[in-house]
Symmetry: C2
């Protein structure tokens, strides 16, 4: 019936002794007892590979546990689970694939690889009858992968939205609190160690899009092509709009959004205004939060540290325990890699961005002269866009002043056409700023 | 190696067709397809029992699926999982025990039973080699049981605190927003259907204590005697203190707290002031939120609807899917009922309430005459209590006026002794109000 009692330990190999790898070594060592009490047998790190031997030494790993050659670990038939923590595409994918081909289960935190090669990896896990754990790929230690695959499995997921990039959230928090502009806030984040020298992946929304691809795959049972995710970062955000957002009762967050509208799946990452009295607006600094709406459970929020050595290691080791529990009971594969049985997955079509609907914040640089408001609102009206509120921030006859509008729910295509027409005309100086508003059915909740 | 493919459906029996039972029927019916896509085989409701036949009819259950006799369902050897949703102690425990003795897995939402008879039930599950699922017992559809048993399994849990009674939170939210007193807010909650005619379990903290017992058992691997939980409800809260809390930058929440301090476990339920800029302070109305601190993951928050037909059914059905996945793979018992292997559980001693330390809000009804502040602070000082801030709300020479103090961290025993001395003296009119403050290391964070 089961292999209970046949395994007296779970043997783990680890490739990559960087920040997270070091965290895994620490958690396995410091929490060995509580892990054994939960799992029933020890999780034993039998081999760790890194090109840099000094890292093993710094972590106090015994010489016999260390190798500079990942292949040594992949060919070790005694190892049950291989953890890949080197990041990047190659050789990470090759290591994972070879480990699975050899009948080993694998654990990875590699969101970029999962977002682009996830289908190949999931298929390999299924074909070889092994597990692939990737709780650490999204939301650090927040057990969000498990929530989607198991905790909320009774639900049809209607949508999810998340703050899933700590660097961007830190920068936005700085901009909101101190009024700093993007470049100042970025420099500050870099000095604080929260942003890399090249922050492209984080601030341009790419990392969020990778993570969204993973979450949407689990939530909706569909393969996701990361290239189909509309992705807009925070680099061009103006401090003025963040301040106006506050005045209007919103916070600006970089949200990753996936939701079913009709038969189509919306997938988008962009700066978003959320009502400041909602929990997700209060998620600050490098914290992450994921908001999931299920048809039965309603709205749920999961939040915590989205990165860092130990939070990420917490997720990696929880995967080891999970897989270990399956290995002990001969139940590898009890939950499919994506939470949906492979034969039951179905490719959903993605709604083109022009076809989404949203509430919009618009900031025109409008010339302060008679008739301009009427002309701008006339263009919007002709495109079927109805205005919820208007604020003119200052007066300076003949010069350009900020004219801020919130729309009612409108179609993205209409908004874009209207703005193209307005921006090409003589009533505004420069390009109109557009920020989407989420979290209210229509544009007048903030006024209520 | 496994029973994969041997089971072509999971057969479910349901006892109790009340609110939650009806929700389970609906979720199993409405989400049959997505459940099958995740589990691989159908979850089939083969028999439902209730004393009231009209309920089955109202839910559209076919006659052959319904019985008025729970025993009929317990003796049906074809049933894999029995759900108990009648609540209360007897016959609920007998049904669960009989089902397990017959080799069936069980699922229950019965927090009162789990809090008092959990050890017997867990032991029975282990002895009979079956599963007992109880995700629905705490936090409605929030997958908090699973987070403690699995998602955060790599951590030593340091502490947890939660808003786990929606009725109390609704009442406190009303009191905070409208300034209503307890009785007004309770009546309003009753009219809105959020409080029962006899609200004792909810407003006196009993329900929170039951749920805390369950959470602490999972978090710390120890049996918990619910009678050892210090329990103080919200009935005697004064609207004035809620208003003063706001002024000081706090919200008052009924928190259930479990944390390790040294070798001892603190277990307590009481009204608590939390800094209003923390996420948990923003959890309003009937929502629940549980905050868990793990040594690796750091601080995590899980929130959502804590009760209601469909959220609770979401949790019940997620347990069915979880157990179903084990049944399909012959891996029943892969995770022990409490998340810790039975032989690894250890009874922790509970710290007596007098020995806890906290930051305190104190409201004296002090006579407005020279020397009173000095005398009161002198008594506190002699008991080793240091004062972080003092506010005298108004002046009325010779009459009693509110004198509000926040202490630095102090021992409960000292506070109680000091207050006994002060309240017995001539400087105050009536009993001093004490509310514990959590969420800051010391008493001066709110001033910062």
């Amino acid at each position: 019936m089961s292999k209970k009692g046949q395994k007296d330990e779970i043997r783990v190999g680890l490739i990559g002794l960087g920040t997270v790898g070091g965290g895994v070594v620490r958690v396995l060592r410091d929490n060995a007892e509580v892990i054994r009490r939960r799992l029933g047998v020890p999780l034993r790190l039998v081999k760790a590979a890194d090109r840099d031997a000094s890292r093993a030494k710094a972590l106090g790993l015994p010489a016999e546990t260390f190798t500079t050659k990942a292949d040594e670990l992949l060919s070790d038939g005694s190892i049950d689970i291989v953890i890949e923590l080197i990041g990047g595409y190659d050789p990470a994918e090759r290591y994972l694939t070879e480990a699975m081909r050899g009948g080993k289960c694998v654990v990875t935190a590699n969101k970029a690889l999962l977002a682009t090669a996830g289908e190949r990896l999931f298929e390999a896990a299924d074909r070889h009858g092994v597990e692939i754990g990737f709780e650490a790929s999204v939301g650090g230690g927040i057990p969000i992968i498990r929530a989607l695959k198991e905790g909320l499995a009774a639900n049809r997921i209607e949508g999810l939205s998340g703050i899933i990039n700590g660097t961007s959230n830190y920068i936005l928090t700085q901009m909101t609190e101190s009024g700093a502009d993007f470049n100042e806030a970025l420099s500050q984040a870099q000095r604080a160690g929260y942003a890399e020298a090249d922050p492209t992946f984080d601030v341009d929304g790419i990392d969020s899009a990778h993570k969204l691809a993973i979450l949407a795959t689990l939530a909706f049972g569909t393969p996701v092509d990361v290239k189909e995710i509309y992705t807009e970062g925070i680099r061009s955000l103006d401090a003025a709009d963040i301040a106006y957002a506050r005045e209007l009762g919103y916070r600006v967050k970089l949200l990753a959004i996936a939701k079913m509208t009709g038969e189509l799946l919306e997938l988008r990452v962009h700066p978003t205004m959320v009502p400041s009295d909602e929990l997700i607006a209060e998620v600050e600094g490098v914290d992450n939060a994921i908001f999931i709406v299920g048809d039965a459970v309603g709205e749920t929020l999961f939040s915590g540290k989205g990165a860092g050595q130990l939070p990420t290691a917490s997720a990696v080791v929880s995967d080891l325990i999970d897989i270990g529990r399956n290995l002990v009971r001969g139940a590898v594969g009890r939950v499919a890699p994506t939470g949906y049985r492979p034969e039951s997955r179905r490719a959903l079509r993605v709604r083109p961005m022009a076809e989404i609907e949203s509430v919009y914040y618009l900031r025109f640089q409008a010339y302060d002269k008679p008739g301009v408001l009427s002309k701008i609102s006339g263009v919007l009206g002709r495109h079927g866009i109805s205005i919820a509120s208007v604020i003119q921030k200052s007066r300076a006859l003949g010069a350009a002043v900020p004219l801020i509008m919130r729309t009612h729910r409108a179609a993205e295509r209409q908004i874009r056409q209207a703005l193209a027409e307005i921006d090409a005309g003589q009533d505004v100086a420069g390009r109109t700023v557009l920020i989407r508003i989420e979290g209210e059915e229509d544009g007048d909740a903030a006024a209520a």
